[in-house]
Amino acid sequence: MLLALAVLVAALALLPLGYIVGYTVDVGWSGVRELVFRPRVGELLWNTARLVAGTVACCAVLGLGAAWLVERSAVPGRRVWHVLLVAPLAVPAFVNSYAWISLLPGLDTYGGALLVVTLSYFPFVYLPVAAAFRGLDPALEETARGLGLGSWAVFWRVQLPQLRVAVLGGSLLVSLHLLGEFGALQMLRFPTFTTAIYDQYRATFNGPGATMLAGVLVLICLLLLLAELRLRGRAAYAGSGRGAARPHRPVPLGGLTVPALLGLAALVALAVLVPLASLTYWMGTGSSSALPVGELVATTGSTLALAGGAAVVTTALAFPTGWLAVRARGRITTMLERSTYLGSAVPGIVVALALVTLSIRATPWLYQTVPVLVAAYAILFLPRAMVNVRSAVEQSPRLYDDVAAALGSSAFDRLRRVTLPLLAPGLGAGAALVFLAVVTELTATLLLAPTGTTTLATAFWSATSGLEYGAAAPFAVLMVLLSAPATVLLSRDARRGMTT
């Protein structure tokens, strides 16, 4: 029964991917050649590639450097810096983009795009690397020092190889987010695949042009996933001892303390202070035209309702697969689990496009209805729920079931008194992360929301599209406020819900 459900969930997750593949086969090789081998596609490819490469490089350097300073150096105020370095995650990339371009309209260049997305995405590298630094066994470094290595050699030969998995994982996350990023880049008028697909879709509805562009985008995502798997290899560095690692002795910075502090301060100022200042400025400017309280309340209400529904549905969908992946580990269950992750690596614009087309063709009565929108959210955010469901099931091993059974407890009784209480916190955390992701979801919502339904993100979007920066500000502020709790969750446990 659970297995059948898990298969259905995997099928749902793979739906957009299957649609793209099916469509490509339908179009045939000559069609693909005609639609894909065009100068326009080459231009988009070049734009996308240089933006991804530049952003990944910048994020890796910033994330690694900041993580080393916070976790390993004696820089003052390390805890405060940690929170401040995670804080950019509370500002959705498209809000950050709005904050910058509304102040500096000249940012619509490669450099501007690189600056804005790097500031939005570097925490994706910072968080896992900081966690990896914390997990490194100081004994290894001490051994290396004992063998005569200096600080720099220790970093290069001992720490960096162990951080490889974290840096690669973070970089993959940055790349996948960037490939799916629509709002931020559209606002910066920097065309990539995602924005081009959107424009095509708006111009010709579901023409083959948009779908083929989506095909290329999906191909890039899959290649990245494969490359990451290959590069990561079998790099599972198991600790050779058990128990909590001893705390590290921070490396004194000496004369470099002031430059390090200035660097961190500059990064935080650009990534956090600028967006907040910009939002504050536009709130002040916009308030001259009186706050539209009624509209704000209605939009917040529909956003919360959608996010709540999506959180419950997505967590429920993640449950069978997450349960089986732990309790009935095997090739089939592992494959089912992987396929949900794979399905979610597809950018939001592609998921939306696939669902629009499929619902129009197969189930016209579902087109532009809430169920389709919720299905899109579920496909996009399943991994956030899955990671948490999985770890919750791992916290509740079969042993407890056995013990309870030996004490005379029936299957239903065990579910009520043992299994559910043990799973509840994990299920709750997963649902919360999905909830908060939906609150700031823009791309799929723009394409799939029923006519007349506006969320905070789409209301913000339509205001900025008309360049009404003041009117957009209150929606942005609400989204930032709603995202803050997720950021706190992430800063505590870097592994949770970081995927997609």
Partner: protein
């Protein structure tokens, strides 16, 4: 309280046979230890008895009630068997009191007196009742787990290596408390362990398992003094194994002419001595001599490794008061009879100290 009878039980996981025909009888109110190296199938047998898994063949009977076999399997929850898993397995979301009363009927769960009584049975203070499991030490967790298993008054209690994760200092106290609680409750108990010292000191009878079979079922003293083969002999304690020649009922070996515990036909044989049978003395003529290779001092006693002129190395166990120093020449004598086994009996490589635990 009822007896447990296991008859011809077999179990395979896929193509791998784990149990190949186990027969075991555990008398009512007795304490039986299932002893064996890891991978011998002892934990699987325990899980079959508990009802967490079903055997491929054979029967399991509790008292006069067959719980498994002939195509019927009573589910675990209807067997009335208490189970204490390896690390306690306390429900992490419940307090100590709620853990202990988990198996009781709803109205009994509120009875604070019952909780106090059960905690007292395992030697714990009633103040612990409201604590969370993670606030307890490993030994306390094991005792709570036992109290929880005993609460519904089971006819049989199964303990799966309950002391293996405890520190040596805690282990002794916890063993003591568990033994006393089991006696006080009058429960029949089966303990799985790979620690022969634990099995010998706690149990009324020990069942030695090897490769999915039960090789010997005996009380601890018989097991130590009359092991069925040299493999069991070396598993349950340190051993001195020597080749000997039997003539007229006496074994002639490098340590002299020794009497035999049981008559053995003349001819080549292999004999077993325990290290405590080997005595050291001033070097005198007429007795075999040896050079002291090393002394492992444990405080209450010591183990002396001795090199014989033939190159053979034997072990002696002495009390810790008078110990030779390394390199001295001593003469050896043997007290008590030797045990004879067929010549060429295979002996498991005796890893000094690892399996003994008698220190």
């Amino acid at each position: 309280m009822s007896s447990l009878t296991v008859q011809d039980v077999t179990k395979s996981f896929g193509p791998t046979p784990v149990l190949t025909g186990i027969d075991l009888h555990v008398p009512s109110r007795s304490f039986t230890a299932l002893l064996g190296p890891s991978g011998c199938g002892k934990t699987t047998l325990l899980r079959l008895i508990a009802g967490f898994e079903d055997p491929d063949g054979g029967t399991i009977t509790l008292g006069d009630r067959m719980v498994s076999g002939h195509g019927r399997a009573v589910p675990a929850r209807r067997r009335g068997i208490g189970f204490v898993p390896q690390e306690g397995g306390l429900f992490p979301h419940l307090s100590v009191a709620a853990n202990v009363t988990f198996g009781l009927a709803r109205r009994e769960r509120q009875d604070g007196g019952r909780v106090r009584e059960l905690l007292a049975l395992v030697g714990l203070d009633a103040d612990l009742a409201e604590r969370s499991p993670h606030q307890l030490s490993g030994g306390q967790q094991q005792r709570v787990a036992l109290a929880r298993a005993l609460a519904p008054r089971p006819s049989l209690v199964l303990l799966d290596e309950p002391f293996s994760s405890l520190d040596a200092s805690l282990r002794e106290d916890t063993r003591q408390a568990v033994s006393e609680a089991l006696h006080a409750s009058g429960a029949t108990a089966v303990l799985v362990t790979h620690d022969q010292a634990e099995a010998l000191s706690m149990a009324d009878q020990v069942a030695v398992m090897r490769g999915g079979r039960l090789v010997q079922l005996a009380d601890p003293q018989t097991l130590y003094r009359h092991p069925v083969d040299l493999d069991v002999a070396t598993f349950v304690g340190d051993a001195v194994v020597l080749d000997a020649d039997v003539r007229n009922g006496l074994a002639h070996c490098v340590l002299g002419v020794l009497p035999l515990e049981q008559p053995s036909p003349d001819g080549p044989t292999r004999i077993l001595l325990r290290p405590e049978q080997v005595q050291l003395g001033e070097r005198t003529g007429g007795l075999p001599t040896a050079r002291v290779h090393s002394v492992d001092f444990y405080g209450h006693d010591a183990r002396v490794l001795l090199d014989l002129p033939s190159g053979l190395r034997v072990t002696a166990r002495l009390d810790g008061s008078q110990l030779p120093s390394d390199g001295t020449e001593v003469s050896l004598s043997v007290t008590g009879p030797a045990l004879a086994f067929p010549a060429g009996s295979p002996i498991a490589a005796a890893v000094p100290g690892e399996l003994t635990g008698l220190r």
